[in-house]
Symmetry: C2
Subunit: 444 residues, 2 copies
């Protein structure tokens, strides 16, 4: 049996390792960091929202229940408008589908424990600086400057994230397409602690958003009564991380735009000044594989901005698809497996990058807008009447198994239809009429 190396012990790397181990391969995971179980996880990453694509592979490898126990289902958005109102929007047409807020650190620790139970071998504190694509060597050393040691494996997976070293080597090949691009926005983490009784200060089963057009604040519940929060804001400009720095500036900013947060996070000034500003990258590349030797997966292959909550879900869907491809092979041929894998996944990686990028505008600009809310309402109303003809884009991306490519295409078609419908005179009063129903039907 072939020996497989997985570089990176993030969520996608470990789930991949478990799925391969369950197929009988020898799997060893390498990571530059120490075992996360022994350290204080300093989260600089946005709480993840697990949805259908993520659950699929977890179910497949039999760990869905264990992971669900770590999370909190969110059935609706709670939109906190500037005038203090809260507008609730169910995530799905039936109101019953949820996305799951899970602490990234907690989940990571749990997955390592599960993987060890299955016999996956972990090498922590083992940075991989480079790979030899042809020989299948990983090169490791305490620091990049020291002499490197080569470790041989038959197959290597680069699950080492948006700044992947495995991809770094592939990028030096001729004809490797690559692009990395940053949003003008950065983000900063905050925590809403539980109250004195250990209770949530906001309703936990909601995805809380404070949209303010060019910037926004979000909060997702943890199981311990706290919320992990993120402020997204431009780096430069009138309202920006560079313009807001002193305690007074921070106070004025929250007083003006996020009064509610001031009350929820008494130490907001200290947190704002202490926590770093993190950047938001979109990364696309091609090819994802090198013969039957090396393959990129997850963020190492397609890093997206977090506004659709699909970064991890897309990575886990990579594992799901790869798993299926392996099962469909009569005899294991990694050249074939990798070729099918990248042909199937690359267009979907591009599609979710596009969808994620577009969704920032929707989340920050439109969620509080009356016409946007009406538009969503019409979609839900129509989808409830004709569930086989209309699945809103968000539902398709989040709760279906349709490919991201299909979601993007159908979403574009639906948007065009809704643009026309929203242009109807008196749409505000006509929207739930059979006239509008017919207007939509004849456009399908």
């Amino acid at each position: 049996m072939k020996s497989i190396a997985v570089v990176g012990s993030g969520l996608v790397g470990i789930v991949l390792a478990i799925s391969l181990k369950k197929k009988g391969f020898d799997v060893e995971v390498y990571d530059r960091s120490p075992d996360i179980r022994n350290i204080d996880f300093k989260g600089r990453s946005i709480n993840l929202a697990m949805s259908t694509r993520g659950w699929k592979i977890l179910k497949e490898i039999g760990i869905e229940k264990e992971v669900k126990a770590l999370g909190i289902p969110m059935y609706q958005r709670a939109i906190h408008t500037e005038n203090g109102e809260i507008v609730k929007q169910p995530y799905s047409v039936d109101g019953e589908s949820a996305i799951w807020a899970i602490s990234r650190g907690k989940l990571n620790k749990e997955l390592i424990a599960i993987a060890e139970r299955y016999g996956v071998v972990f090498h922590f504190n083992t940075p991989v600086w480079d790979v030899d694509l042809d020989k299948g060597y990983l090169y490791t050393a305490a620091t990049e400057k020291d002499e490197w040691k080569g470790i041989a494996h038959d197959v290597i997976f680069g699950a080492d994230g948006a700044y992947s070293r495995v991809r770094g080597r592939m990028q030096r090949q001729s004809r490797f397409e690559y692009q990395q691009s940053y949003l003008h926005l950065g983000y900063k983490e905050f925590i809403i602690e539980a109250d004195d009784l250990g209770k949530y200060k906001l309703l936990p089963n909601y995805f809380h958003i404070w949209p303010r057009k060019d910037f926004m604040f979000i909060a997702l519940a943890n199981t311990d009564g706290s919320f992990t929060c993120t402020l997204f804001m431009p780096y430069e400009g009138e309202v920006s991380f560079s313009a807001i720095q002193t305690a007074e500036q921070v106070d004025v900013f929250f007083e003006r735009y996020f009064q509610e947060i001031k009350e929820l996070i008494p130490c907001f000034v200290k947190t704002y000044q202490e926590n770093p500003v993190n950047s938001l990258v979109t990364m696309k590349c091609f090819p994802w594989v090198y013969e039957g030797k090396v393959a990129l997966i997850g963020d190492a292959a397609h890093a997206v901005v977090p506004f659709y909550g699909q970064g991890l879900n897309a990575g886990l869907e990579d594992v799901y698809v790869l798993n299926k491809i392996i099962e469909e092979q009569k005899e294991i041929n990694w050249d074939t497996i990798f070729e099918i894998y990248q042909t199937e996944r690359k267009p979907n990686g591009d599609a979710i990058a596009e969808l994620s990028y577009r969704n920032f505008k929707e989340m920050s600009e439109s969620t509080a807008d009356a016409m946007f809310i009406l538009r969503k309402q019409i979609e839900v109303w129509f989808a409830q009447k004709h569930p086989n003809s209309w699945l809103p884009l968000y539902d398709r991306v989040t709760f279906s198994s349709d490919s991201y490519v299909q979601a993007l295409e159908l979403g574009d078609r639906q948007r065009k239809i809704m643009d026309e419908i929203m242009a109807t005179e008196n749409i505000e009063s006509l929207w739930d009429s059979s006239f509008i129903e017919q207007e939509i039907l004849k456009r399908l």
Copy 2:
């Protein structure tokens, strides 16, 4: 005085080193390759065509004449059509401006000798694997796997080409914009040897092109009677490097499309089969500098496809601009110098990338097309009548000092005007009338 490291002993690196040395800085050049003067230069690169932007800095540092002695001026294109005709097109409106064919290897050797005369120190066989941006360290070792040694300099220039290691380090910074993209075409080098008497087999003072729409062959003269030639062709498809491999296929291909070449290069089959196919990359990135410590220059900052003959010229213009900025400083402050440098050059790097990409279509598709030739003819006719109102795009890019950004903008405006003019009924017979002259004038 500050000590400056230049990584890369290509043409831009050495010209930069000379210009800095002449300003009194200590300059050391590092290159992974051996001294090119001691080895047989195996050219995998297209012969360069030096034009106005390149000459400017060579003149500035007083070596224009020495370099011109290595080259051959080309005043016109000679277009070899499929039916065996040769159409000649002057490069400039006045017919007197030339681009200069120069052997890259020869020029490189000459420049090293000149630089040594000025006191530039060269470290050959010294690969730079990484840099420490803050400390200004270069890290070097015989191979990347060995223990690295750090060498300190005050300022580092990455002139290490499209695959720059210096840029590789900068790319790992947050918010570094990067993209590399390859054309679907590759290229292969050929040589037309001098005849038995040592004479040229084609007219030397012409840039010879055999355009065949999706592929083309070009030839530039060397001083020894030979021509360095390049076949540009898609990697895949009906007529492509992958479809044409056997001796018979090569023979059929040249027989059908390039009969003239068959006669000029008797060993065309052997050359075709032996020489590698090289790829064509466009690379854009930002920022180009790291504080006052590190700056990228030439291909390391902006790699373009070769179809405008501007790759080297753009790199040399970087040196020219940098040189001017340094001269304008009362006191040398590298933070300021680098900031001005990238602000001025980055938009021009993007513009020449765009112009170069577009020019492939023109060179391969249009040069043999009757309407294209007429269009050029009208432009020249009008430009001769109104030299202050109309400088054709090619002239502006190649023979002027207008920025590439201006060239792109003005070129777009001129194209729009010419599109309208070419749509005039009976343009073929009307083109040199005062009616057309007025039509152009009123659109300016």
